[in-house]
């Protein structure tokens, strides 16, 4: 329920497999339960009239989270026309469900709450004449000739951009354990959506699995919503997230059990009990160390995986990076992939955090500007890009708490010259420009 899983599939107005976490409530809406995946009806169904349009633009931004929105704004400020496509009915990506204050500096929105940053972006984008937002629509594919297909509820667009920023974010990982399909086992992003975006208390007592920043923050937000958090379990010997986030839940009495994992959940039709177990140095469960907690909610915060299907489909050369959460496109220091004029930014470029996503959005936009805009704008863009990259790599990512992401991102960044060689060896089957 980060908008990218099937946990909330229901039949909406007769159409199966609709993600209800992204359906705005409206007059006459009919929502029905479905059991598991329902294959779409065979044959052609009459769906009513579909609006078809062809759109040309300088820059297409796929995904309106912090990375995409900062890219769109920066590019528009430099004179480019921009189209932003997002699947959700509101722009902001993960920021929409973040009620806590963000770090960074004042210039990087530090001190503001996540949803407030999203509101600020929406305001700036709304007042820009160069940016057009297409909400509730998904980029479903890229065709030869650099045409991008976008489908909405009653619309179908084909966009021809001169450059593309892919800022599609990430999806949540799941975990294997006994009865993990019982209702009440839910992703951290899902709970944030239900609780923080829609104001619904998700349960009475919870166990959080995973002590990265996401797990710790969700634990704190559950406490705020009046949910008793029995424990946070972490399989590693140390807490994954930042100390300050851990301290925030510890001082309200939540234990963080390192070297522990979840073994099973039990219950009649829903979670009633969760069983955790200690693990040794090799992550093997230690028999006899099991503990049970009476909970009706088990939150999984066990990591994110970059959503890079768009890049794979375009034929961008990809690399597997455990430090970044999975398969990501190779890129130059200015975030161009092996597909010319296709840039990557944010979690799609490797899991990091929102502030770096914003900075990567700027870098991607400025690279596009340096190629597409007139000479004076282009050279100014290059200067600014240089500055941001220097700050990002030499100051921001010098933080030891970002060491892993930094290492990962270094391992997938290649020089422009090297990228030319890669392009010659693996020519992509689509191109933009």
């Amino acid at each position: 329920m980060i908008g990218k899983c099937s946990s909330c599939f229901m039949k909406v107005n007769g159409v199966p497999n609709a993600k209800t976490c992204r359906e705005p409530v409206r007059e006459g809406l009919v929502v029905e339960r479905q059991r598991g995946w329902v294959p779409p009806a065979a044959g052609v169904e009459e769906l009513g009239s579909v609006e078809f349009r062809e759109v040309e633009t300088d820059l297409l931004v796929v995904g309106g989270g912090p990375a995409g929105l900062s890219a769109a704004l920066k590019a528009s400020e430099c004179g480019l026309d921009v189209v932003v496509v997002d699947e959700h009915f509101k722009i902001g990506g993960q920021l929409l469900k973040q009620t806590h204050k963000f770090f960074g500096s004042v210039e990087l929105f530090g001190g503001m709450r996540g949803f407030q940053i999203a509101e600020e972006y929406a305001r700036r984008i709304g007042s820009s004449e160069r940016i057009r937002v297409i909400p509730r629509s998904a980029v479903y594919g890229v065709f030869r000739g650099g045409l991008v297909g976008v489908v909405g509820e009653n619309s179908h667009y084909v966009i021809k951009p001169r450059a593309v920023v892919g800022s599609t974010g990430a999806s949540e990982r799941y975990l294997d354990f006994v009865n993990n399909d019982l209702p009440g086992v839910i992703g951290a992003g899902g709970v944030q959506t239900i609780m923080n975006e829609y104001g619904v208390k998700p349960g009475d007592s919870a166990l959080v699995v995973g002590s990265g920043n996401v797990g710790l923050i969700v634990a704190y937000q559950l406490l705020q919503a009046g949910v008793a958090v029995r424990a946070v379990v972490e399989i590693l010997p140390e807490i994954g997230g930042w100390f300050v986030h851990a301290a925030k839940v510890r001082r309200y009495g939540v234990p963080i059990l390192t070297q522990h994992t979840i073994k099973a959940v039990y219950g009649n039709g829903k979670v009633e009990e969760a069983e955790v177990v200690a693990v040794d140095e090799n992550f093997n469960p230690i028999p006899g160390s099991e503990k049970k907690f009476r909970v009706d909610l088990v939150l999984l915060a066990v990591g994110l995986e970059p959503d890079t299907r768009l890049f794979s489909q375009c034929g961008a050369v990809m690399k597997w990076s455990p430090d970044l959460g999975g398969l990501v496109p190779l890129r130059t220091p200015d975030l161009e992939t092996s597909v010319r004029n296709l840039y990557v930014a944010g979690d799609a470029s490797g899991i990091e955090e929102a502030t770096t996503a914003i900075m990567e959005g700027w870098v991607a936009a400025l690279s596009a500007v340096s190629k597409l805009a007139d000479k004076s704008r282009a050279s100014r863009a290059e200067e600014e890009l240089e500055k941001i990259n220097k700050f990002l790599w030499e100051e921001y990512r010098a933080s030891p708490v970002l060491a892993r992401a930094r290492r990962g991102k270094q391992s997938v960044t290649v020089s422009r010259e090297e990228m030319e060689k890669i392009r010659a060896e693996h020519p992509p089957h689509v191109s933009f420009g």
Binding site: H100, K101, F102, F103, G104, S105, V106, G110, G111, M112, R113, L223, Q224, P237, E238, I239, W242, F243, V244, H245, A246, A247, K248, V249, R250, R251, Y252, G253, V254, I256, T258, T355, E395, Y396, A398, S399, P400, V401, L402
Partner: protein, 163 residues
């Protein structure tokens, strides 16, 4: 600090804070309210720096651990309100009868002046009861000053309103 115990426990000890110059010196504590920043990691954040009205907190780089000039701090609590890590506190151990602690609070109900509240330490253990003496708010973070039994100034890091 890779092998610090706070990375395992989520609880930072006074010794660990002192080693990072984050604990006010004894003579400063005797003079009145002063900040304690429980911010022991080099995280990319400097929000407390520009907001401090007396420029008592210094950082050269965004990822530095904050450095406090103890004599400049007036114990106003603005950093308590703005710190995204909820890691800033103000303690006053200078009085002979009570200690005073100022903590951030983001839970309902919001305590009111005069309320008696439960005092929690870094582990969330109830260590006594205190009386709220001041409450103010900034962007939905409430800043609560509470009068606590003498000797608990360095212990209390949260308050809880019994429902």
């Amino acid at each position: 600090m890779p092998n610090s115990s706070f990375r395992k426990t989520g609880v930072v000890s006074p010794e660990e804070l002192a080693a990072l110059n984050l604990l006010p010196p004894e003579d400063r504590l005797k003079k009145g309210p002063v900040v304690v920043l429980e911010c022991p990691e080099m995280i990319p954040c400097n929000i407390c720096v520009p907001y401090c009205p007396t420029k008592a907190i210094k950082m050269e780089k965004l990822i530095d651990i904050p450095a406090v000039e103890w004599d400049k701090c007036i114990g106003c609590g603005i950093c308590v309100a703005v710190c995204p890590g909820l890691a800033a506190f103000v303690v006053d151990t200078s009085k002979s009868d009570f200690d005073y602690v100022t903590v951030p609070h983001e839970f309902i109900p919001i305590p009111r002046v005069g309320d008696e509240v439960v005092l929690l330490n870094k582990l969330g253990e109830g260590v006594g009861r205190g009386v709220v003496v001041r409450v103010w708010e900034r962007n939905r973070t409430y800043v609560i000053t509470v009068r606590v039994p003498k000797g608990l100034g360095m212990e209390v890091r949260a308050v809880w309103v019994e429902r």
